[in-house]
């Protein structure tokens, strides 16, 4: 295996300022919707007003008589697309699979005219009865072949049912998490512009290479004819990682009208067809000895997907990794409902799954009379509990110990509901975090100029993570130069193909390719006597072989989160007074950008614990609370004190940087730590998120 690059590591690990920071604080950074090509027309997608059925007729003729309207397109007059993906087959069928699905698009000279046209377009439907509410005992629940990220649906070892029946201490509870929406601050927007047989798309994307491939295939052209431009992405959290229907709609419309088209979704439209976190119903059973040592773990999760495609979140997967127990089982079931397709939202699987497992661990700690930190330490596995693979590094125990020390956990009185400051009940809680350390093949090009400047080119995405900055540092080290001499170009599909900014694997995947390209360039420069030729020197690396050949290890980041809450004894109003996380995630490449990633994740976890919930309206079949006035995300005044720390972790089995991904682990476990603290404060166990007043006031 390749050893980590240790020589000349001067900048990886340094708190470099964000390289595009100046552009962002002056308003110069251009996002997709800021782009205004000449001759632009505006498109507005028209959503279905039934949850299931068929479109019979759309009154296109009446619409075209209106001033300013350029086109009205529906299934009856849309060009055909080459796809079997029903999600992306926009306007290819009369069928309506969920309320809000795009059934038409209108195009006008101004956004106002387009909006008004969309509002008044007459559409005739035949509605059918719909089914939009997830239940654990839904008769159509089935076992999918695989769940998200390719994990098997079900796993098992030993005889958990018998072990649970005989266990001295048993926790057997049902936990629920609601549907949640990613809500990046930047709404999705597409500007599509055809030039001859080529298509240019300005679009905030976490995956420009993937979007290019999908668009090329849908419109039946070579990938080189599609150009996706996405230099700045205003947050994504998973919602800009997959190709989405509105992008197809914009491209199709631009082709039809022969002019550049802008299709900007409103905040309300983001709640329909840009993905969301599925609601989950989870049953966790833990069987233990009186001292807390686990005998059996079972984790059964039920999720929803649409009738269009099967997306099953890997909710029970973290229970395959966390704790040792001889008898175990995990299962996933999915119900296909008349709802939009759920998708990736920050830490899919781990985030809702660890809420259930880590709440159950707290309940077990109480049942056994064992300290919750100590309980987790006692159940630390020597190797992957199911895979049997050695961990490349695992420092959960060290995170728990360090977190307990920093938080002041020692001497905690475990009794619930006994600490009071005036009207406020005070409690503390702990939960563990985990997230896999993945890596995907990537390519990258580095170019040296005679003057000593270098340019790195890679179709990566910086969605606010700091990728541009960290790749600059990685390249500077590998080239033995200063970050100021390196320019990183990313967010453009014309650059060397790279994998998605998702699964917390961006830096590991892109960084490996950048290091390999820089190493090769440095070697060639050395061979040439250290002189850059007049025309410059360029090297491209592809890490496909290296990544596929990597040794088999169980690779995960771990963490421990501690929360202190105050609950108003009369109103149930809950405030998180303190959140403290300690993480072990390999080498931290930039403490400044990393700290924000951890704290941002933890704050989104706080938001999940107390606020976030998309409520499905059973009668109409869509989400009721679809704006930021009704779907609450944590605001500045909701946050009191959030601190993130990390341990130095040397792991030679990861990648040349020795890093694990840090974009998602911060949200994992936070909600459980808070719910556990709320129980400690009040004696009320909340097993269904979010922790609302009405659940606390009895």
């Amino acid at each position: 295996m390749t050893a980590p690059v240790t020589a000349g590591r001067r900048y990886a690990g340094a708190a470099l300022d964000r390289v595009e920071g100046l552009d962002k604080v002056t308003g110069r950074a251009a996002y997709a919707a800021d782009h205004r090509p000449a001759d632009l027309v505006h498109a507005v997608a028209v959503p279905a007003t039934i949850a299931r059925g068929e479109v019979v007729q759309v009154d296109v003729d009446a619409m075209l008589k209106r001033p300013g309207v350029v086109a009205a397109i529906w299934h009856g007059n849309a060009p055909r697309l080459a796809t079997s993906d029903e999600e992306l087959a926009v306007l290819q069928s009369r069928r309506v699979a969920y309320r809000g699905q795009y059934v038409a698009v209108v195009v006008a000279e101004t956004p106002e005219d387009a909006r008004e046209a969309a509002r008044t377009l007459r559409i005739e439907y035949v509605a059918e009865e719909h089914d939009v509410i997830l239940r654990a005992d839904h008769p159509r629940a089935y076992r999918p072949e695989n769940v998200n990220a390719g994990h098997p649906s079900d796993t098992g070892q030993g005889d958990p049912d018998a072990a649970l029946a005989a266990a001295p201490v048993v926790v057997d509870e049902e936990y629920g998490t609601p549907a949640e929406h990613n809500n990046p601050m930047e709404p999705h927007a597409t500007i599509a512009d055809w030039h001859g047989d080529g298509l240019i798309v300005h679009e905030p994307s976490q995956n420009v290479s993937g979007l290019r491939a999908t668009l090329a295939s849908l419109f039946g052209m070579p990938p080189g004819h599609v150009h996706v431009v996405s230099p700045h992405v205003g947050g994504g959290f998973g919602s800009k990682a997959k190709t989405l229907p509105h992008t197809i709609l914009a491209a199709l419309t631009a082709k039809q009208v022969g002019r550049p088209v802008k299709l900007a979704l409103t905040r309300r439209q983001l709640f329909v067809a840009t993905g969301y976190r599925t609601p989950t119903v989870q049953r966790v059973r833990l069987g233990a000895e009186p001292d807390g040592r686990l005998i059996a773990i079972t984790h059964d999760a039920v999720m929803q997907s649409s009738t269009l495609s099967e997306f099953t979140e890997q909710t029970a997967v973290p229970s395959r990794v966390m704790y040792a127990a001889p008898h175990r089982r995990t299962t996933h079931r999915v119900v296909r409902l008349d709802v939009p397709t759920p998708s990736w939202m920050r830490a899919p699987g781990e985030c809702p799954g660890m809420f259930a497992l880590e709440s159950a661990m707290d309940e077990l700690a109480i049942a056994c009379g064992v300290d919750p930190v100590e309980l987790r330490v006692r159940n630390e596995p020597a190797a992957g509990p199911e895979s049997g693979l050695p961990f490349s590094s695992r420092n959960l125990v060290a995170c728990l110990r360090e977190g307990a020390r920093r938080f002041g956990w020692a001497g905690r009185d475990p009794r619930p509901g006994v600490r009071r400051r005036g009207r406020t009940l005070i409690g503390t809680g702990v939960a563990a975090s985990t997230f896999p350390a993945l890596r995907a093949p990537s390519s990258a090009t580095v170019r040296a100029e005679p003057g000593g400047r270098y340019t790195v080119r890679i179709a990566a995405a910086d969605i606010g993570t700091g990728a541009r900055t960290v790749l600059t540092q990685i390249a500077a080290d590998a080239l033995g130069t200063a970050p100021a001499a390196v320019t990183v170009e990313l967010g453009d599909s014309a650059l060397p193909p790279a994998p998605v900014a998702g699964g917390s694997m961006g830096t590991a995947s892109w960084g490996t390719a950048v290091v390999r390209a820089c190493e090769e360039l440095a070697a060639r420069l050395e061979a040439a006597g250290g002189t850059v030729p007049d025309g410059g020197l360029e090297v491209t690396a592809d890490t496909g072989r290296e990544v596929r050949a990597q040794e088999r290890y169980s690779r995960h980041a771990f963490g421990a989160q501690f929360a202190e809450v105050g609950v108003d004894a009369d109103t149930g109003e809950t405030r998180v007074l303190r959140l403290l996380g300690v993480f072990a995630a390999g080498r931290v490449l930039n403490p400044k950008t990393a700290r924000s990633q951890f704290i941002g994740g933890m704050t989104m976890g706080l938001s999940m614990a107390l606020l976030e919930e998309s409520i499905m309206d059973g009668r109409f079949g869509d989400f009721l609370n679809c704006d930021l006035a009704q779907y609450h995300i944590a605001a500045h005044a909701d946050v009191r004190d959030v601190q993130a720390y990390w341990l130095e972790e040397e792991d030679p089995h990861l990648n040349p940087m020795g890093s694990k991904g840090i974009g998602e682990i911060g949200i994992v476990g936070t909600a459980a730590a808070i719910a556990n603290a709320v129980h400690h404060a009040t004696g009320v166990r909340i097993r269904e998120l979010p922790i609302r007043l009405d659940k606390l006031v009895r």
Binding site: R18, T26, E112, E186, G234
Partner: protein
Amino acid sequence: MRVHLTVNGRDETVDGVWEGESLLYVLRERMGLPGAKNACEQGECGSCTVYLDGLPVCACLVAAGQADGRRVRTVEGLADGGRLHPIQEAFVECGAVQCGFCTPGLLVQAHDLIERVGEPSDAEIREALAGNLCRCTGYEKILDAVRLAAARRGAARTGTEDRS
């Protein structure tokens, strides 16, 4: 309709404005000032915050006609020529910028706070910025940035007074 505005110190006239248009639309789409961002279009997120006659407002909630004859200052107008305002420097330095989409509105709101209050307390900062949603940072570094900018501005003022 025709609208006259003073934007970032320059007198501007915009023709053909539709009566229902927002100030945000006029700035972004008609004047080529896309710094203020459109993230909710109904006054919930603060991403479009600009000064209107010296008061921070959500530009999405101000009708263009209401802004007629008034002064507007956007994120593009916070720097003094090539010199950044301390709040802009502090945002980069403290790591308060991530995806950057909430940043222009937050900068205007934070600029107003420290110009008005001087050195606000943490509680004042959290409250004053509670209308500017950020989904990336978790707000802690934004708090640090406002503290730092306020302290530097205070020190600069004191320095100036000492010299005068």
